[in-house]
């Protein structure tokens, strides 16, 4: 591998209460990969994703994104870095009382002049791009509806459109389908997959279900109690590995 696109080295996070969420996690991701992070609830998946765009401050270890050492950036540096990293959340995290279009436009906040954005003025070309982004995820007609009027699947698609507005190099998806039903899960993940394949956006996505990881991931890493316990191809996870990751009593559940 040439210079890795994303490099995580000895990443450790201890929360103020003493919970060790991540312990000495190291891995590398090449440009254009779709890496799925699996593991039980509380295994450190969310913390890992948030350490990469520094929504969570790591206790120790270093992270590089596209040659930039994330962990060495100052406040302004972090802000600039975040502009290029899209993030998708389990609870969608839309601003519920704002229209869908405004929610999508917030993806561009890091670039627009501060005063324009504070009075909610958006240049027409940006509005057009937001509409195009909604078109891509198939909900162009919902642009002027309040975000909380949408179904879960539609809200997550707004979340994807918001990330799309950032023209990201990397998408961090934190359990993007954990709140959705199986059919909707697939449709949402397919949009993410399309961004990965067509635009070459690197994706780091945590998922609950191994079946989804196998279906969408080009590579899987597994966390258990904050430690990296697996790093390989989806097909390499056999029943032995599965029990290693999820514990002896676990039974694999398929999601159609």
């Amino acid at each position: 591998m040439a210079r890795p696109f994303l490099k995580v080295e000895g990443l450790t996070k201890v929360y103020p209460g003493g919970v060790r969420a991540l312990q000495d996690v190291s891995f590398e991701v090449a440009r254009g990969e779709f890496v799925v992070v699996i593991g039980l609830s509380g295994s450190g998946k969310s913390t890992l994703l948030r350490c990469i765009n520094r929504l969570v401050e790591p206790t120790a270890g270093r992270v590089w994104v596209d040659g930039v050492e994330v962990t060495a950036l100052d406040r302004e540096g972090v802000r600039r870095l975040r502009r290029e990293i899209g993030m998708i959340f389990q609870q969608f995290n839309l601003v519920r009382r704002l229209p869908v279009l405004t929610n999508v436009l917030t993806g561009r906040l890091g670039y627009v002049p501060a005063w324009w954005s504070l009075v909610n003025y958006w240049p027409p070309d940006l509005v057009q791009r937001a509409l195009d982004a909604l078109e891509r995820v198939g909900i162009r007609d919902k642009a002027y509806v309040r975000a909380d009027q949408l179904s879960g699947g539609q809200q997550q698609r707004v979340g994807i459109a918001r990330a799309l507005m950032q023209e990201p190099k990397l998408i961090l998806a934190d359990e993007p389908v954990a709140s959705l039903d199986p059919a909707t899960s697939h449709s949402v993940l397919q949009y993410v997959e399309e961004l990965n394949r067509r635009e070459g956006i690197t994706v780091l996505c945590s998922l609950h279900f191994l079946s989804l990881a196998r279906r969408y991931g080009t590579r899987v890493i597994a966390l258990k109690e904050g430690r990296l316990v697996f790093d390989g191809l989806p097909s390499e996870i056999d029943s032995h590995r599965f029990r290693q990751i999820y514990g002896e009593d676990a039974v694999e559940v398929e999601i159609a």
Binding site: L55, R83, R96, R97, T102, R108, L109, G110, S117, N120
Partner: protein, 367 residues
């Protein structure tokens, strides 16, 4: 000591406390009955507020006499009329007036109305069976040179009209509502920024936490000062009147709104904040797009609720010099004008109930 012993001691202590309390507060339930006659007239008057008053109808005619060089008013073309022996009169001169076409056999008076409309009576007369009168009168030198002479004849029938008290009460009530509005506005202006500084979830780092602690302390200190005391202080500072009331209510509103607002901010969903932060937005942008949309309904509801409370509170504020209806009510009470006081009390009740109802309706809609 055993559990039973402790319980017995607690009961004895409670009994002793209540017995002492009964004695020092001089509770005497019998007085409620034996002294009921003292309160009866008061209650009766409170049930009879001065709303309308009966005033006799009158016929009023300007006397066509010029005083101090001003041209004499014209006699009316129809109805009762007055004629004077001379059309221009100086102070100290006598003039003879003849009136006709008035109601027959009624008492009348000749009145001088100065520029402010304040009347002073110059003479009295009675109309004859045909509704006419004759009158000789000397123009006294105490009159100013601006005003008019008017003949007023009192008719047998009377008319109802809103009482002077009602007019005054209404005026003060409007003042009170606006006093509360301005106090609330002042509270909002200062409480909004303070509430953002005093919200735990927006405080980051040592500086943020220090600012958070400071604004919370400021809010708590202000809130613990009674509005009555604030009003007393401001009445001394800027003088008795509605402005003192505005300041007192304003300061109190800053504290209470600040606390309510910051609690509303603390209760918001942190998800959108995280999402907007993750796009590379600045601190202000995060507040603009992730915080404000979530708190607007609560802010509106709290503000209207505060206004409602302030209207109620401004009554009491008025008692200590804060202006508005309270000040008027206090004067009526001190002068034992119970019927007038009743008018004010009923007006307050009505307006407060109305505000209460409206604010509840508005809050229902926005939340």
């Amino acid at each position: 000591m055993t559990g039973r012993g402790l319980r017995l001691a607690a009961v004895l202590l409670a009994v002793a406390a209540f017995a002492y309390g009964w004695r020092v507060t001089r509770i005497d339930l019998g007085e409620l009955v034996t002294k009921a006659h003292l309160v009866r007239p008061l209650v009766r008057d409170l049930l009879r507020p001065e709303i309308l008053e009966r005033v006799p109808r009158t016929q009023e005619v300007a006397v066509p006499v010029a005083l101090g060089g001003a041209p004499p008013p014209l006699s009316p073309a129809r109805g009762p009329r007055v004629e004077a022996s001379s059309r221009s009169v100086r102070v100290g001169q006598e003039v003879e007036l003849r009136g006709e076409g008035f109601a027959p056999g009624r008492p009348g008076r000749l009145v001088w109305r100065d520029a402010t409309g304040a009347p002073s009576q110059l003479a009295q007369f009675t109309t004859d069976a045909r509704g006419s009168f004759r009158l000789r009168v000397r123009i006294p030198d105490t009159l100013g040179d601006r005003g008019e002479l008017v003949a007023v004849v009192v008719l047998p029938e009377t008319a109802w009209r809103p009482s002077e008290t009602l007019r005054l009460v209404a005026e003060r009530m409007v003042e009170t509502v606006f006093l509360a509005l301005m106090g609330t506005a002042m509270g909002v202006v200062f409480a909004v920024p303070l509430s953002f500084l005093g919200a735990r979830n927006l405080a980051h780092g040592t500086v943020g936490l220090a600012v958070y602690g400071t604004s919370r302390t400021v809010l708590n200190v202000f809130r613990s000062v009674e509005p009555l005391i604030l009003a007393t202080v401001f009445a001394v500072w800027v003088g008795i009147g509605p402005f003192a009331g505005v300041l007192a209510l304003g300061v109190h509103s800053v504290a209470s709104l600040g606390k309510l607002y910051s609690e509303a901010i603390e209760a918001i969903d942190p998800g959108p904040i995280e999402a907007v932060e993750a796009t590379g937005a600045s601190r202000l942008q995060v507040i603009r797009y992730a915080v404000i949309p979530q708190i607007v309904p609560q802010f509106i509801a709290f503000t209207i609720y505060r206004w409602d409370i302030n209207v109620r509170m401004s009554t009491v504020i008025g008692f200590v010099g804060g202006g508005g209806i309270g000040f008027l009510l206090m004067q009526y009470i001190n002068l034992l004008l119970w019927q007038k006081a009743a008018t004010a009390v009923w007006a307050i009740t009505l307006v407060v109930a109305l505000m209460d109802y409206l604010s509840a309706r508005v809050r229902e809609r926005v939340v």
